[in-house]
């Protein structure tokens, strides 16, 4: 066996085998690969920073991660929004050490260099005594992100001046992902972003968004206490407890009718179709999905987009849930990921509906959520087993539905209709490989344009 040098294209190509549905576990713990991800993915992609309602007033700021860079998203005096790197152009110190708040300017507490909300350098202590007035202040503003744009209030930025415009990056699938939240009504971010730390690789958190195979086991206790509906089907497939008893698995009723969208640059949506979801939800919860067929949302989503009820995921790390939340998975190292939960409400909904939704948002996900407590366990344990010399040689499997993913192209959306499958996960890793190789934008787009099968 030839081991290629890490970082070479041949080495990277050997890590993802779409034909066999097998991944090399090294991609989940190799720090060199993590650095390539920082450079080629997080240094180039459009990344979600925050929602405009999180910084409503002049001087409001929210600190967001872009790879290992920290960026201050700031509401300007003219109400526009800028995103500035949180690093003093003198000696590098952070010019703001809070996560969010309101300021009149940003002052570095090292030497007092002071920057306006727009990043311009407006104050240098001792300008005449120490610099003899020879320092050109205009040459040292806080650095801006290369491009900033917003889609329906959702603010994105990229560090790559060559990146295609946001709308092109999102493509139809990415826009549907956001529309499934934005078109709910008059959207506002709820105060408070849950942030917690997992000892796992970020890609486990990303591909899990599409995994409808795990809930019936991982979330069996949440199902037992009524947090998720289940079908009256008992199919353990031979799963037994450590005492040898058949596990009483109530299969999730979503397994017959799954709808997948594969998008350029790696975006994807996967999960139950709207019809399938309606069959599983109790009537009082139908409003969770039926709004998608109201005239406004229907016009934005289109005939195909309006049929999705599953989980949209914007490559690389933003997962949009069914209940108006965005989970941002923030890579800190190959083995550490922070999970951030942004939660939204529709200003036009009744106080009772808003309260009920808040309860669901708090109780489903997040570190104390009835569901995500168990998810974190899987991801950290899976990551841990990619480090052992023998364990990491076992391939990571994505074989469900392999080769059966016939892609239908309609209304600008590439979709697959199939039982529960791993097509979206495979698409994520196929795209990941194209990104991490550092190919040009044209090559990247070409490599991540869905064909006829996966």
């Amino acid at each position: 066996m030839t081991i290629e040098a890490p970082g070479t294209t041949a080495y990277l190509d050997s890590l993802v085998n779409v034909a066999t549905g097998e991944l090399d576990r090294r991609i989940f713990s190799d720090e060199e690969i993590f650095e390539l991800e920082m450079q080629h993915i997080f240094g180039r992609a459009w990344l979600f920073l925050c929602h405009e309602t999180q910084i409503p007033k002049k001087g409001d700021f929210f600190e967001a991660p872009m790879g290992k860079d920290n960026v201050l998203v700031v509401r300007q005096r003219d109400r526009s929004i800028k995103a500035l790197l949180n690093t003093c152009t003198h000696r590098g110190n952070a010019v703001c050490r809070a996560e969010e708040g309101n300021v009149r300017n940003f002052m570095c507490t090292y030497h007092g260099w002071t920057f306006g909300l727009d990043g311009e350098l407006v104050g240098v202590p001792g300008m005449s005594d120490f610099y003899r007035d020879e320092l050109d202040r205009t040459k040292h503003p806080l650095r801006k992100v290369a491009q900033l744009d917003n889609y329906k209030g959702f603010i994105f930025a990229t560090m790559d001046p060559q990146a295609p415009p946001l709308l092109e990056f999102l493509g139809r699938t990415g826009r549907i992902a956001i529309d499934l939240l934005a078109e709910r009504g008059d959207i506002e971010a709820r105060p408070g972003v849950q942030k917690f730390t997992l000892n796992c690789n970020w890609k486990f958190t990303a591909d899990n968004a599409f995994d409808y195979y795990h809930p019936q086991i991982t979330h069996i206790s949440a199902q037992a206490v009524g947090m998720i509906p289940s079908a009256d089907v008992n199919d353990t497939g031979g799963a037994k407890t450590d005492e040898g008893k058949a596990l009483g698995v109530q299969r999730l009723p979503t397994d017959l009718d799954t709808l997948v969208a594969l998008g350029e640059y790696g975006h994807a949506i996967s999960g139950p179709s709207l019809d399938s979801m309606l069959r599983t939800l109790p009537p009082e919860m139908h409003e969770l999905v039926t709004w998608r067929q109201n005239p406004g949302p229907l016009a934005a989503l289109g005939p195909v987009g309006s049929r999705f009820a599953g989980h949209p995921h914007l490559f690389p790390t933003a997962w949009f849930t069914m209940d108006a939340q965005i989970s941002l998975r923030v890579p800190r190292s190959a083995g550490v990921t922070e999970v951030w939960w942004f939660s939204f409400k529709d200003r036009n909904e009744s106080p009772e509906e808003q309260k009920a939704q808040l309860g669901r948002q708090i109780h489903s996900f997040g570190p104390a959520g009835f569901l995500e407590q168990e998810d974190g366990e899987n991801w950290s344990q899976s990551t841990a087993q990619t480090r052992g010399g023998a364990s990491r040689d076992i391939p990571q499997l994505l074989k469900m539905g392999l080769g059966r993913g016939k892609i239908i192209h309609e209304d600008g959306v590439a979709r697959i209709e199939a039982p529960v499958n791993e097509h979206a996960q495979l698409w994520t890793y196929l795209s990941w490989l194209a990104w991490v190789k550092g190919t040009s934008w044209d090559e990247l787009r070409s490599a991540t344009t869905p064909g006829d099968y996966i």
Partner: protein, 182 residues
């Protein structure tokens, strides 16, 4: 006699206050023991039917923005539970399939700095500091330190928790879940 001395030199209301302090501290020691002995069904019985169990999100904010350090009820939180939700959490642990707690965590609830802030007769407001130490699996260690503010209601069965606000000292949580009770 020491006792006689005590009674003659300390005002009765002070002795009553000391006794109340003792009762409240005993209550918290008992509560911590229930949690650390995994007696969750008895623990959840310590909450009134109309209880509210709330852990807001704490944010690192500039000193002059401290008024927005914690989220408020009606905003996002880590816990915002009524009695039914708390009971649901306990039932979930009891299923034997709540994998985040199976194998179970080992916990130590250290409750200290017990201060009775207000006594309205039927209800008391009590502030405590806590140090929740947890180890789980082979080598995971989590520590949460913070402040709780409780409303304790006097009932025939003793104190019951009618409201609990939990203020963690961490902002970005350094643990992978909050599968324990505070």
């Amino acid at each position: 006699m020491a006792t006689a001395h005590l009674e003659t030199t300390i005002a009765p209301e002070k002795i009553a206050a000391m006794y109340l302090q003792y009762e409240v501290e005993q209550f918290y020691t008992h509560e911590a023991a229930l949690l650390d002995h995994q007696r969750f069904e008895e623990w959840v019985d310590l909450f009134t039917d109309d209880t509210a169990y709330f852990m807001p999100i704490r944010r690192t904010v500039p000193r002059r923005n401290l008024s927005r350090e914690f989220t408020r009820p009606g905003e996002m939180a880590f816990f915002d539970d009524d009695k039914a939700t708390l009971v649901g959490r306990v039932q979930k642990l009891g299923t034997g399939t709540a994998w985040a707690e199976d194998p179970p965590s080992r916990t130590r609830h250290l409750v200290t700095n017990v201060r009775i802030i207000e006594d309205l007769g039927t209800e008391l407001t009590v502030e405590t500091c806590f140090h929740l130490y947890r180890t789980r699996l082979k080598s995971e260690i989590d520590e949460w330190i913070g402040r709780r503010e409780d409303v304790l209601r006097r009932t025939e069965e003793g104190f019951r928790i009618a409201r609990r606000d939990i203020y963690l000292d961490q902002t970005v949580l350094l643990s992978q879940n909050l599968s324990n009770f505070f």
